[in-house]
Symmetry: C2
Subunit: 543 residues, 2 copies
Amino acid sequence: MADFDTGLGRQAANFAALTPIDFLLRAQEVYPNRVAVIHGDLRQTWHETAERCKQLAAALRVHGISCNSTVAALLPNTPAMLEAHFGVPMAGGVLNALNIRLDVETLIYILEHGEAEVLLADSEFEEEVAQIKAALPDLYVVQVNDILGPQAALFGDVDYETFLQDALNQSDNWVLPNDEWDAIALNYTSGTTGKPKGVVYSHRGAVLSSLSMLLDWNVPLHPVYLATLPMFHCNAWCYPWSITAKVGTFVCLRRFEPNLCLQLIRDHKVTHYAAAPIVHAGLANASAEAKAGIDHVVHGTIAGAAPPAALLESMEQMGFEITHIYGLTEVYGPATICERHDDWQNLDIEARAALNARQGVRSNLVEGFTVMDPETMTEVPADGETIGELMIRGNHTMKGYLKNPQATAEAFEGGWFHSGDLGVKYPDGYIQIKDRSKDIIISGGENISSIELEDVLYKHPAVLTCAVVAVADEKWGEVPMAFVELRAGQTATPEQLTEYCLSKLARFKVPKHFVFEELPKTATGKIQKFVLRQRAKTILAVP
Amino acid sequence: MADFDTGLGRQAANFAALTPIDFLLRAQEVYPNRVAVIHGDLRQTWHETAERCKQLAAALRVHGISCNSTVAALLPNTPAMLEAHFGVPMAGGVLNALNIRLDVETLIYILEHGEAEVLLADSEFEEEVAQIKAALPDLYVVQVNDILGPQAALFGDVDYETFLQDALNQSDNWVLPNDEWDAIALNYTSGTTGKPKGVVYSHRGAVLSSLSMLLDWNVPLHPVYLATLPMFHCNAWCYPWSITAKVGTFVCLRRFEPNLCLQLIRDHKVTHYAAAPIVHAGLANASAEAKAGIDHVVHGTIAGAAPPAALLESMEQMGFEITHIYGLTEVYGPATICERHDDWQNLDIEARAALNARQGVRSNLVEGFTVMDPETMTEVPADGETIGELMIRGNHTMKGYLKNPQATAEAFEGGWFHSGDLGVKYPDGYIQIKDRSKDIIISGGENISSIELEDVLYKHPAVLTCAVVAVADEKWGEVPMAFVELRAGQTATPEQLTEYCLSKLARFKVPKHFVFEELPKTATGKIQKFVLRQRAKTILAVP
């Protein structure tokens, strides 16, 4: 047996730490003059974009950011947000992209827990930043006056463009990671237990997840990508990195509006976008006038819920090809794909939609995706009936939860990431979700923890017992419905509870329905949520 | 600064060793019934192919193959050769694919040096195997009677189908690599110094090189790949692995014949192939009749020499899109690509061919490709004039040379792989070869070491001094021309030297031209090869 190890180790010539930073460097080298960013009237080439990212890195380093420093971003999908996805890791730092829809209290919790040293904040969030600064006076705020956003007077410590400008002559002051396992991003998930958890991504994971998505989606060279998906959601499923690898063009977007998006799709010949069902539905339901003139194929990915037959059909009529994918923050966004087979095209739309409604199979480069009994960690039979928990493993899974070894250990028990979703495996190997074990409500693409809502409601003086469940909603996919038992002698109206919730929670989390009645309980007093889910359907069915 | 390391390490749920074996497993899982292999009348699905690979792995393991055992293959591009690319690593072994055009003496050297324990041999090579067995009686020979090859009586130790059949009930007896740095393949290169060197590939490198090629070539789902490129050349640039990742179809091919290939391209709607210039020229020069009926786009990659304008033009007229790439065995085949720019399409064919003739820029996922002064290891200016040595670094580079730490250290000196090719860098960052420092002659896609030929010639009693250089050849690209100074009082004719060389060398290596004259030398007695290259052109120009 020959010795295949001695003298054959890793060294500078034959090993490099995987990092998405390299995607940017290559785009700049090979296609410097191609347009990287479209934003209003702005056209920014790959050379310009890369130079700005290098300046951002240098500016951050001058400000003290280095390996493992957290830099947070409170930004819509603007050019600055894209630049942060490269500039922060090129400073050695870890990007903590914040959900701009969160309430300030939660934002402060995240900034503190993640130990952010710098915050890049859009001028739209002047009010939030004032409150954040009051709570965290040491946080250094770089204010981004986006060209399409409100032009505010300086409320941060420095203006973004000035920050970059000051580093103009230092644009070689940036670094590659020491190790591909180094952290690149920190994304907080609304967990089931009160406080959000900080999911840590590595450079290696970001590269392999990016490549995985490119393989899954068969992305050609120079895609034109419309940024419908917020980059604060799992770093927009790694698209800021993967689209750069294919030297694409980013069409930025501060806020989703169907007609604006259709106009951008038409004007810039957008080829790819990714979004929650509500966004797809918004496009599908737009007027014929708004849709007119789009005569090229547009590829979309949909996650968060299966596309209903009607939606699938109208998207197909528009010439849109929609791929159904599934994932979670813990697996860098999507990690599974409902791969279509040629012979599905012979089926009618309902049958196709049913096959396509499944969460599918593991993505490329994902080691494993299966359904298991979480107690025994054995796979369920592929009979389409036996329910178990969806499990994922491989390079596509987070490093773990920041400063939470217990939660990490629980999530990774038995060598698999426990998704918290319950489902079945069909004889063809495809997997479908049947229920959620985590009581998460997905509304307009945002995760809402039913337990968080219940915690808030329980603090209201009139509430004796409560339970929140998801109910279907035409516009938002799902919305929270709260079932409330009032204390004897107390009263509360839906309006009062709505107002109360608004004072404690981000707007999108507030229950859309309140039902006052006795809650069904087990013999041991546990509220039977599955009964409430049925009950909710009955209530909504009443005309 | 937050702690992004503690409790956030690699574990089973979030880390898997990269390996191309996973491409096969996923193809089987997701598209079991798609055709993986076409060979004559044979149609083999991905399920069948994967099962056969697992059986091959089990059969090898039963025979004693385990981690780091070498399994050699003397096979044309048959289904068995494809299966060996998965079955051997799934046994834990290292695949040593042998150039079927080599002389037996060299084959024996390689088998001994690589410590091969098993040899998979096509029945076409009965004679060679007899000689090999005489020299290496312990080598276990598995004889492949390919359906399109000669049906020979058993001359090996076992027949391939019987070997697989015996492992039918053990098809779960296979393994994944312990570490992604483990060896997967061993490919011998005709070095500049007499003996071939064994280039070792890792699982990690094979995966990243495969993905690199998919990105470079923008390969969509389900490509139909015609196996024009021998899999014994750098494992056909990793195509056995990368095409599997895209769940493609392999159209196997024992031997290149232009008309047969055009027929296969037409019949099976081949979308992709890769080849040396001579193969492309063979297709381009075929009759209009042979080319008729191909009305889809065919993508080809060309390496080994730049495509001349005339070839590029006729390929374009056929609807073939040809991508020029460059590499060496040491970098898993191609590691650079001449990426085309949209505005090149506005240029005339000569200008386009000139731009396209360049070796280009680093491939996706290749860390670095540049031109350096090999003494100072500083980059040459990007002026299109200053000559230096082409250097490559990154995950795309071999582990090193087997049992040859000195050669490995020399090749990797200064943290870059020294290609041995000399060239320039243009202002747009594109690199072009201007000369070879290693005296390699590329003939019909095969590398021939001029030094190896000189070593043989020096052993002839009549030869006093000799030097071999490459000369252009319409059919083969390049062929060797030998300049010989005879010893006083000795005589030799071209015919005699040709016959002598045939007894010592593989047929394709034998010089096509012999010139008897005094050799130009430097003051210190070194033969001036650059003078001979000029002289050779003059000789050939004589009508």
